[in-house]
């Protein structure tokens, strides 16, 4: 069981983690400041396994990987959004933060209790017993996520195997 933290469209990387905190890459240190300017209660209240539910274009802005690292460091299990910004999408996969694209993400209410199956993309909303379907990840992306990120993948495999 996980609690949903709702965010609007176009959450940018400066909102996820302001540039002035990007002097460290330690996940739990970044997590202390995650969303500090737009959602000051987040870092103090988020519980391991919680889920971020957002609108369109989540993670737009800079290429900073500090953003998905900060979210992962906070214990968030996955991010569900209507769409993701391109570099954030790649970075999240590469650091091993699961992300699901679901066009109906906006119908999930703040604080909803969710059961998410990352392998199938099924999102069960407990309150109304509804199940939403997220787009399945392409096979090569799944391979990277299942390895725990691109670094563990490349450590164990030849990158050509992805093709």
């Amino acid at each position: 069981m996980a609690r949903a933290w709702k965010f609007e469209d176009n959450v940018n990387t400066d909102e996820i983690i302001p540039g002035r905190y990007n002097l460290t890459t330690v996940p739990h240190e970044l997590a202390e400041h995650v969303f500090c300017e737009v959602r000051s209660d987040f870092a103090g209240s988020v519980v391991a396994g919680d889920i971020i539910v957002a609108g369109k274009n989540f993670g737009c802005g800079s290429s900073r990987e500090h953003a998905p690292i900060a979210i992962k460091g906070s214990g968030v299990k996955c991010v569900i959004a209507r769409s993701f910004a391109r570099i954030f999408f790649r970075n999240a996969i590469n650091v091993g933060l699961p992300i699901l694209t679901c066009d109906e993400a906006h119908t999930i209410a703040e604080g909803s209790e969710l059961d998410v199956d990352l392998a199938t993309g099924k999102i069960h909303v407990r309150a109304n017993r509804e199940t939403l379907e997220a787009s399945p990840l392409p096979a090569f992306v799944l391979a990277i996520v299942q390895a725990g990120g691109i670094v563990p993948y490349v450590r164990e495999h030849d990158i050509e195997e992805l093709e």
Binding site: D9, N10, N12, D14, E15, P18, G19, R20, N22, L23, T24, T25, E37, V38, K56, N57, C60, G61, S62, S63, R64, E65, H66, S83, F84, A85, R86, I87, F89, R90, N91, N94, V95, P138, F140, G149, I150, V151, P152, V154, R155, I159, E160, L162, E163
Partner: protein, 416 residues
Amino acid sequence: MGTLVEEIFSHRLERPVAAGDIVIAEVDSIMSHDNTTPLAIEAWQKIGKPIKYRDRIVIHFDHAYPAPNIAAAINQRRALDFIREQDIDNFFHRGICHQVMIEEGFVAPGRIIIGADSHTNTYGAFGCFAAGFGSTEIGVAWATGKTWFRIPETIHVRLSGSLALGVFAKDVMLETARVLGMDGATYAAVEYSGSLIESLPMHERIIFANMSTELGAKCGLIGVDDTTIEFLESQTQARGPFPRLRAREPSYQQEVAIDVTELEPQVACHPRVDRVKPLSELQGMAIDQVFIGTCTNARYEDLAIAARILEGKKVAKHTRVIITPASQRVLDQIIADGLVQVFHDAGCVVTSSGCGACIGRHGGVLAPGEKAFTTMNRNFVGRMGSPEAEIYLGSPAAAAATAIEGRIADPRKYLE
């Protein structure tokens, strides 16, 4: 046959590829800077494999250089230790990474360049594929020399007409952002063509590739023509032969046509790059700081137009005006041509080259409640310091006019 991005990858892989294909390709240059190199080193160390091609790694110090605090100094120390241990030749601290990449000849048609910076797109103005990647993938590419790409669909922006006095590529790009929106090109390539693009010099074409990032695009591309090749041969260290890559019988996901003839100077209003209004509607808004700089608008021609407006005038008494050239070479040029003296006489501060105030950590940080008018490419909350400050984006000419009046001002009256 295909869009420009399909042509570039087909050229490189020596087989036809199409949008949607997933390919593994060799990369020609792997770029990172002081902010992103430490994470790339961490990723590379975790992989535990040797550097594949030492000469493809290019590292720049530009974001917070010279280091403004101990944490930045430690990051640079880590990068320097790596550069020394791995004997990396391509190490630069002479301006904004994207400008130096072009000047030093790493950018040329048909190349595939990845960089740990979201404005790596800039190089696409030269008919190459260039995109911003995270540091982890940079570390992976150091170890493998390759990475995976999904060939993107393409949005075609056809620009026609001619620019009125006081209107620049920046204004056209802001108008494009207004039309397409901040997520209007997510995952896509944006290809710019048409009579306007054909007529523009490279320093103006670069704006479109550079700010494609602000549309969510994977890359921004312009086909190769005589202008591209003449610039590369005369202004950079790149050496040909340069393939004349252009779209051939392309199939686009979306087509947008904009005639710029009637376009006025534009401003992107805080805090969204697509919240764009004609400058005339914002005229008179008091501005605390003007910043002319960044990988978007701090090339010689950008500073020359600002100097033309500021020559013989004084900036407003209570407005700080900061000019940060894109590179040491640009700084050398504005010293040689007397533009630095023009800026000094007008009351501006000219800083050393680099990213400067754009990253909100040094060189012009904003206080709560302040408003800045800048030539940057993004105006997010907190970008230049205080999250309670506001950022407005426009052309170098508009910034210079605003500097004189201390309020958002129309550059056209200073250019007649």
